[in-house]
Symmetry: C2
Subunit: 278 residues, 2 copies
């Protein structure tokens, strides 16, 4: 696979790259960012933390606002942030911020006109890890995954369906039960069709109910998050983890909202938590 | 004066506000951001660090990308970032990124059509400090100032011309001698007219040559900054400080560029340095 480094900057002792490549999964060019901490120059392979972004975002939001580089430099962790959907001419879109481009929901769409390009599941679970492992000094036996909102949903479902692949899984304000909330209902129906049975493989709470297991999870959510009660519903995850014996550290953060002001506040905590497990 | 808080978010234990107000200095609405660290709720007044931004920027660039909140929360410092010029309908502009809106250069323009609104010197040295002191819990006896590029020029000249006002002065990749470089030549001629004598009050190196003094300065510049040799010319500041007995800590940072990837890397160092003096 050929990569084009579209930007590169020294930061926090390491290198912040933005990379473009032709994706076979989506049939489009895809862009992701990757931070290589200072330790990447030392010859060995480093643990990698995947960050899946939320609705409307590209790689750029967390890259600019996430405040992850200082902590990744401290702990020697590579940080990779993919886009949230295919984009560009010839890629279908919707008028809505919560469906279509910028809202891939980390599924392989089965419905027209989405099924040709909206294959973010395959992209983030197969193509991108293989590409990063081939081209950068990462130790693929030491992976962690996290994400925000729709990307928190992505992190949870990707980890639950790939047991043993990730040593650590966390999320910021995740959608935990998309089948049961408006954002998820719309996206799963639109990409996967009306059969709700097909949605369960893309619903963290349903996956746990159906037997998927992780040892532990770290989740932070702000109490002033405007989507808390209608879209995020952390109590559903709490109940499912309780019933399944999954250790869930659920931190409700007083007064924090859904923005990168919230994420950046707790990013270093999450990276430290992942580092302890990587 | 009446303030409108246009956005507010909890972050790093404090509050990040964006504030709009009618400015008598510029005759326009002006917007600035202010971070109140967690200690702001304790009843006392806190030291304040002013951050002046560079060409093309608004308050938003450093607010989103500057990574200052963790360090300000640690040290209990209020952080204020004004806009770089007046803006809006009825405000003159130029086609260029380095003149007109987004490029006020922290002067009071004397030339038409700029002189009516482009009064950033008065705004940042008089109106904004008075407003912030009246409306927020800041201790105006404990002020520090910093800035980036054009805003580094602003920080240096504002501090040099207001002896005793700031306990600490630093800059990221500052324009140190605008009279001698293309960006500054264009701006000072455009706003102040062709008489180069008038420029000396807005040129840090000239101010030092003309007798202005500070005890010490902290300056960081990246060696891969594309503007280093043509626009920034730190050797001119070094020579002037040497001759004047000003202690200049000039850190040339290997491989860093002019962007917020550079600024954010060294922001915590600068805030710690200011905190020791505030």
């Amino acid at each position: 696979m050929s990569l084009e480094i579209t930007s590169e900057a020294r930061s926090h002792g390491g290198r912040q790259l933005v990379v473009k490549h032709a994706s076979s999964a989506t049939g489009t060019d895809m862009t992701f960012s990757i931070f290589l901490p200072p330790q990447a120059g030392n010859g060995g392979n480093l643990p990698v933390l995947w960050y899946l972004s939320g609705l409307t975002c590209t790689h750029a939001n967390v890259t600019e606002k996430g405040e992850y580089r200082a902590a990744c430099a401290e702990h020697g962790i590579v940080f990779v942030a993919p886009d949230t959907s295919p984009r560009g001419e010839g890629v279908p879109n919707a008028e809505d911020y919560d469906f279509g481009q910028g809202a891939g929901f980390y599924v392989d769409a089965t419905q027209e006109p989405w099924s040709q390009h909206f294959r973010m599941w395959t992209y983030v679970t197969e193509e991108l890890p293989a590409l990063v492992a081939a081209e950068f000094p990462v130790d693929i036996d030491r992976q962690g995954i996290t994400g925000h909102s729709m990307g928190g949903h992505g992190a949870l479902t990707v980890s639950l369906r790939n047991p043993g692949r990730f040593r650590s899984t966390s999320a910021f304000a995740p959608i935990v039960a998309p089948s049961q909330v408006p954002w998820g209902h719309k996206a799963l129906a639109g990409y996967l069709g009306p059969d709700e049975q097909a949605w369960r493989k893309h619903d963290a709470v349903a996956l746990i109910e159906d037997g998927a297991r992780l040892d532990e999870l770290l989740v932070d959510i702000g109490t002033a998050d405007p989507f808390l009660e209608k879209e995020l519903r952390p109590e559903l995850l709490e109940r499912a983890c309780d019933a399944a014996g999954i250790r869930l550290a659920l931190n409700l953060r007083e007064g924090y909202d859904h923005s990168y002001y919230f994420i950046s506040t707790f990013m270093a905590d999450h990276i430290r938590w992942h580092a302890e497990r990587l």
